[in-house]
Amino acid sequence: MRYLARRTGQAAIVLLAAFTGAFLLLQALPGDAIMIKYENPELGLSPQQIADVRERFGVDTPLPVQYVHTLLGFAGGDFGYSLQTGTPVRQLLAEAVPHTLALGGIALVVAVLLAGLIAFGSSLPRLRWLRDLLRSVPPLVVSIPTFWLGIMLVQVVSFQLGWVSVIAPGPIEGLILPVITLAVPLSAPLAQILVRSIDDVAAQPFVAVVRARGATPAWILGRNVAKNAILPTLTMAGLLLGDLIGGAVLTETVFGRPGIGRITEQAVGQQDIPVLLAVVVLAAASFVVVNLAVDLLYPVLDPRLAARAREGVPA
């Protein structure tokens, strides 16, 4: 229990730090979103009219006041308004998160399955040719840019072959190509880690003991090696969240899908600070939550860690 409380407290501190860092960095950017929107010559407003609007948005209030105001807003679930469009940021996120969660979640599952398929397939020693082939897949795939993969899938599968529609597709249909686009590059590093851990674990003395007692290679792989090899992969999966978010930005743009990635891409272009701040905090929060979950899963998977956690020793 103390382990849980300590980990949760650490997560909260990380979040506050992320908020503060993002707030300061965004404030340090040249210009501000009000300026970009209203001083944009395309509106043709006179200097006086611009001054009126600036006053309305309270752009020129001192930084500490803005910081406290924004932090309190965030604590109460109020993320302010997009300066570019005026849409409440909470509404933007509420509509976008389910789309990105569906895309990212399914992509992660598919990536893990793909990685597992590659790793375990390549660890069955009988089929040496298959093993070599599969082991050469991850280094190849890891170098494919997400953006390019997306465009190629759209052009070939949708436009040439006409198998799935990209424009206004059904909910399932709309996920097929984006999920592949996101999952394939993600599966490569996972597969590499998994292959490496399987090799490491397979070289351990206890495996030799099990083998000496007559276990089949498949039995060893399934019962003894896999369980031990999964730990580093799990850590990696937690760390890959960053890649997942980055990949979502590109995937959602290529496919014109709604989601956090699209919002981020648009907000970056327009320096829409309230939106960016909320996205950064959201990304930090999911990072913290996923890694917290991974940390809490460790003791479940490895009894030795569970014992330490009970005693409150750092894992």
């Binding site: 407003l45 509509e95 976008a96 014109g256 699209r262």
Partner: protein, 551 residues
């Protein structure tokens, strides 16, 4: 601006041409001739792909093209501007009267027009519309319309008559009432704040147009549904009554190759923003390409005369002479981007050919720079008193292929010893830099508006101030003569005299070497063969009202 050319016969002629093309079994033609053949069919949903998501439905801020496609189809206006002749014709206003010095406008309104929430479109609500657009409301974040100058107040004469009063002549007001920026909204909608006009709340924004917004997915999709009881199209339009289409599905598809591919594979019917390098692919596949002109201030470079280097007219003249505009158009764009012959588009009101001032003459340019004391220095870049002849131009993200064009221009200028650097920055840095004459000396932009006022919008100190004639820091004006000329265009009541004033301003901008016009900017659209009845308003925003789908 050319004298009356009856619209109906124009449509008939277009239709006849299209029929000819069909009977000749020609492959689907490019351009408007493909539209309007056969008998219109009602029904169907048009899938329309946008390049970017819309940002607001508050009309005075809705100039951005992705907003325009929505505003032009969901809201009506008082007056209709014929996109061909640019003449102003009745729409919601059946008739109007303007006093001699253009300080009073009285409109008679059509009977029986309703907003989609059932409320009547009467004098009261029209007055409320223009009170907001003419005066703005900073409290709600709502700005004044750039197109409405000197607005004082409205006066409801009776249920279908309204008068507007101006504190000084406002000759551009009548045309302003025909633009997207003056779209008519219901009384409730006019009480909205900027936040309520934002994406996410679009279905709540009520107009009286042929379509209503019925569904929205923020930033990615919007559904427009036809109003069955719509019966107040401009009398001069070929079609009357409800729109042919049942609905329009607007999908935001930012990636160029996906937009074009979706059109060619039949997943989309109609797309906006076909880039110049993709046109050939769309043409070759037998799809229609439409390139209506935006017809205002041409795509151009402003040579800002208050900067240290460019305050010398000889340097500005040298830049003008050192840029091979024809090569830019031929290399970077297509034949749908005609070479500019004035700061105004040749289809704009009051246009004056000043191409004599923009000839390519690299030797002359070099001689002018020598004369101005800029002597060839290290690496071929000229120098004077230890300073290099280095200038900065902004990449203008909304303009087609801005970076490519500027790169070529920079190479051309290098030949006469000028170092032109391109500022490729994020929105914030760019917004700040373009307001400082020592950071961005050469400013790349354009403006679309089909009225004589457009030249004033672009260069006047209180509007876009493209030349930075007004110094934002000390409030001084660099060239009072330019201010006078521009002010005259917007405040002269006599229409013929306004044309004279506009032409003087064009001449002055050319003679002072303040501008380098590049090309006449089109909006380029692609459409499938089944899409008929494609039309645009006067600055190339799409109208879905007359579109029908054949299959």
């Amino acid at each position: 601006m050319s004298a009356t050319f009856p619209t109906r016969s124009a449509v008939a002629a277009t239709a006849a041409l299209a029929l000819l093309a069909l009977t000749a079994c020609a492959p689907a033609t490019s351009g408007p001739a493909a539209a309007g053949s056969g008998e219109p069919v009602d029904g169907g949903t048009l899938v329309y792909l946008e390049h970017q998501a819309h940002t607001t439905l508050y009309p005075p801020s809705a100039g951005f093209y992705p907003n325009g496609g929505i505003v032009n189809n969901v809201f009506d206006r008082l007056v209709w501007q014929d996109p061909e002749s640019l003449e102003l014709k009745p729409w919601i206003a059946t008739d109007w009267e303007v006093n001699e010095d253009a300080t009073e406008y009285t409109f008679d309104l059509r009977d029986g027009v309703t907003f989609s929430d059932g409320t009547p479109l009467d004098a009261e609500v029209v007055a409320k519309n223009f009170d907001l657009y003419g005066l703005g409301d900073p409290e709600r974040g709502l700005t004044v319309s750039e197109a409405i100058n000197n607005y004082e107040r409205s006066e409801v004469v009776d249920a279908d008559t309204v008068t507007f009063h101006f504190s000084a002549p406002a000759p551009g007001f009548l045309q302003a009432t025909s633009t997207n920026n003056s779209a008519l909204l219901s009384a409730d909608t006019l009480d909205f704040t900027l936040e309520q006009f934002a994406p996410g709340n679009s279905a709540e924004v009520i107009g009286s147009g042929p379509f209503t917004i019925t569904d929205e997915e923020i930033g990615s999709a919007l559904t427009l549904t036809a109003r069955d009881d719509y019966d107040w199209a401009p009398p001069d339009r070929a079609h009357q009554g409800r729109a042919h289409l049942d609905a329009v599905q607007i999908q935001v598809t930012p990636e160029d190759s996906v937009r074009v591919g979706a059109l060619l594979s039949g997943q989309a019917d109609y797309i906006r923003y076909v880039e110049a390098q993709d046109e050939a692919q769309v043409d070759a596949a037998g799809f229609a390409v439409y390139a209506p002109q935006t017809g205002g201030v041409n795509n151009h470079l402003s040579l800002r005369p208050r900067g240290q280097i460019l305050s010398d007219i000889r340097v500005r003249q040298a830049l003008v002479a050192g840029i091979d505009r024809q090569e830019v158009v031929d290399t970077i764009y297509s034949e749908r981007y005609p070479l500019a012959t004035s700061i105004l588009s040749s289809s704009a009101q009051g246009y004056l050919d000043t191409s004599d001032a923009f000839g390519y003459d690299p030797e002359g340019a070099a001689a002018l720079l020598e004369e101005a004391g800029w002597i060839e220095g290290a690496h071929g870049i000229r120098e004077k008193d230890g300073t290099q002849l280095t200038l900065v131009v902004n990449e203008s993200a909304p303009q087609p292929r801005s970076f490519e064009a500027l790169t070529l221009i920079s190479q051309q200028l290098k030949k006469i010893g000028v170092d032109l650097k391109i500022l490729k920055a994020d929105a914030g840095s760019a917004a700040e830099a373009v307001r400082d004459v020592e950071q961005v000396q050469v400013y790349h932009s354009m403006v679309a508006r089909a009225d004589l006022d457009v030249i004033k919008s672009q260069f006047f100190s209180q509007n876009r101030n493209a030349l930075l004639n007004l110094d934002y820091d000390d409030g001084t004006i660099g060239d009072p003569r330019l201010e006078e000329l521009l002010q005259a265009v917007a405040s002269e009541a006599d229409p013929d005299q306004r044309i004279v004033e506009s032409q003087q301003a064009q001449r002055y901008l050319a003679d002072q070497a303040y501008v380098v016009p590049l090309f006449e900017e089109p909006q380029v659209y692609g459409a499938a063969e089944r899409v008929h009845g494609v039309t645009f308003e006067s600055v190339a925003r799409p109208s879905f009202y007359e579109i029908w789908l054949a299959d």
